[in-house]
Symmetry: C2
Subunit: 416 residues, 2 copies
């Protein structure tokens, strides 16, 4: 690392500590004078008023060396927008949201990261799974299974490491051999919640544990809400699995929508209080209903190429009959036989049509001749399912990739 | 009954027997020459070719007296478009569908009805509940509860008397003291399915059992599909509760949509094969998701007046805090005390704002003074829920009734 790179890293570490995210004023100052310049202005109390409201309370906390050391002691590093692995393409959504006036959706100044994988690679194709802490067995089961199936399709599973759905999603992804990413609402060195410390170690090995809070920061309610924007922004889409009537997951869903991400929800029994939030999202058409990985991939996917296959159903030999022929078929007895005249009367189909249709049914092995007339043939086994495109297929635009390949970051300085 | 009225009734009974519904050609002939004239032309083999294809197979079956007697023997009567109780307003949807080219959605020529209630009254505000025969306990339970709640809101519950969801809907309505209506795919005198004969007796007492098939007609597959249009057309909306991947209920839903009716579906566990059809309808946005009677009423209801109330959730005293105040509150310790300077540092809120916000929190009984500084006050009990309008409320048009009051039928002749 060159002295210049080190200076940038120290500046970013300091700026992460002095402003509680989201920090729009500080972000704008950095855009104007660069991170080193911004750090100098904040430290000397010369920051413009727009920034000083965010930094005044902690501006004198110059301890970037200590923060970097604390992070290193738990195997974490600081990843900044100057690094190649910065997920620039995914985080571009934050800039667009701010430009549209959503100031609380400003992106992170940098991220503390524990794990070997490159952030940009993990964000390449990612889906977040969020939901209730007080999840039911049903919710944990379907969240875990979905996560497991997502990683087997090469999709990173993103969540927030909480008890309930979050934990089930991380565990399901790990059982499928990852990768999975956890965004924390506390410092990277804080094992929160305590019961998930071991889980977080596994998440770090599989993908990454990530936080924008300086080491030592404790989890707090408002930080969960602020953290949720990172989960939403890092992912192509967010699946809500179980959410009560008031639920932080609906906040993540709203953020994902504002960031232009796909919002999905899994339904559950209408008798379950833990599905009320999901059903509300679906009823208000704020989310796509998903029940399995193919539908998630269809919802987030490249239009026209990632359509979910229709569930396989056994086809019946009578499925392709037109209504008139079906009426004739339905009028045939199972035993004995019936004359064409009787079939015409019972089906209401004119006799000359009945006479034409009975041999057709015979050719299809659906009818057979009998001394007393005609009857049903013993049904053959159902034919294998025909390939069947979703009804959405007809309206699809030509295939375009959902994301262009990641660009090297344009910022000056550090190359890892 | 005048001789002219009797002649009309015999003509309609005959026409119901000679053509398997739906019978567009015959309907057009009746519109042109009236039912008595149409009956004469069919009987003498002089019907135009458009009609004769529908009537040739059974044209010689002149037995309206016998059919009326068979019906009377099971307590049924023939209701025709010439009767005041004909649900003209509801069935108007069939004429509109035919005009748009949906020829299989032509309305019934008349209806065999068992039950004391007037059809037009029963159709005044009606919701159909349809679903799988092989329903789960969950499906039958929620269908029955929804039906029960619908009739308690003065809404007729319509279904098809089959095992599974249909039966649960009728029973739920009966338990709530009706009214409920069953449309049959067989003759009015055929107790089908056999295990529901007693149930059909109760349905007739509460509302009506209805069929467009002549007495003695047996149930057949194509008749279920044709019958489904009556269930859909008679109701303001159709709720699908449990449907497999291939299900007749999806046929009813598609018909309801074509007829301009509201289509709704109840979700269930994604692990249940019996909810696959409902989830497909919801994912393709072909149905509104409903979980309780208030949402059904909102979906079918008069815009702007029948909005479902948001589910009641306990409010927390911190719900109304702005983000900055919440950050200050979150930085307060539960025990001991913390100085405003410490609170400023921990929350990232500037000290002068912290000094202004702490007394505000004290007034709201959320913070209290302590020898060492400030701390959380013991939380008061949650306040009662505030009235809360659905987010849809803002976009509503001024109240207009979903249906005008029923008109007396314009046809000549019989008045009951």
């Amino acid at each position: 690392m060159t002295p210049g790179e080190r200076e940038l890293l120290l500046a970013r570490a300091y700026l992460l500590r002095v402003a509680e995210p989201p920090a729009l004023g500080l972000t704008r100052l950095i855009a104007e004078v660069g991170p080193v310049g911004a750090a100098r202005l904040v430290r000397t109390g010369e920051a413009p008023p727009e920034t000083s409201g965010e930094t005044d309370a902690r501006g004198d906390l110059w301890r970037p060396e200590e923060d970097l050391a604390s992070a290193e002691s738990v195997g974490a590093r600081l990843v900044t927008p100057e690094h190649d692995e910065w997920p620039s393409w995914a985080f571009n959504a934050f800039d667009l949201a701010v430009a549209r006036g959503h100031h609380h959706l400003v992106g992170p100044l940098a991220l503390w990261v524990r794990g070997e994988a490159r952030l940009a690679d993990l964000a390449e194709r990612a889906v977040s799974i969020v939901g209730a802490r007080a999840a039911t067995d049903y919710g944990e089961c379907v969240a875990g299974e979905l996560a497991n199936n997502l990683v087997q399709h090469g999709i990173t599973v993103v969540s927030g490491a909480a008890y309930g759905i979050d934990g089930a999603a991380h565990r399901g992804a790990l059982a499928g051999d990852g990768p999975t990413v956890a965004f924390l609402a506390c410092g990277i060195d804080i094992g929160y919640p305590a019961g998930h410390r071991l889980l977080l170690d596994h998440v770090a090995k599989s993908g990454a544990v990530v936080s924008e809070y300086p080491p030592g920061t404790s989890a707090a309610r408002h930080r969960f809400l602020v953290r949720n924007r990172l989960i939403a922004g890092f992912s192509d889409g967010t699946v809500v699995v179980e959410a009560g009537a008031r639920s932080g997951s609906r906040n993540t869903a709203a953020t994902a929508r504002t960031l232009g991400r796909v919002v999905m929800a899994m339904p559950g029994p209408v008798t379950s209080a833990m599905s009320v939030g999901c059903h509300a999202l679906l009823r208000e058409q704020e989310a796509d209903l998903v029940t399995r990985v193919a539908e998630v991939i269809e919802s987030i996917g490249r239009f026209g190429t990632d359509l979910a296959a229709e569930p396989k159903v056994a086809r019946r030999p009578t499925d392709d009959l037109d209504p008139e022929t079906l009426r004739v078929f339905d009028a045939l007895p199972l035993r004995g036989g019936r004359s064409p005249e009787e079939v015409a009367r019972d089906s209401g189909v004119p006799l000359n049509r009945v006479r034409a249709l009975l041999p057709t049914l015979e050719l299809a092995r659906l009818a057979e001749r009998h001394p007393e007339g005609w009857r049903c043939a013993r049904p053959p086994r159902p034919a294998p399912n025909k390939p069947n495109k979703s009804p959405r297929a007809g309206t699809m635009a030509p295939a375009t990739p959902a994301r262009p390949p990641p660009l090297p970051s344009a910022g000056a300085g550090i190359r890892s």
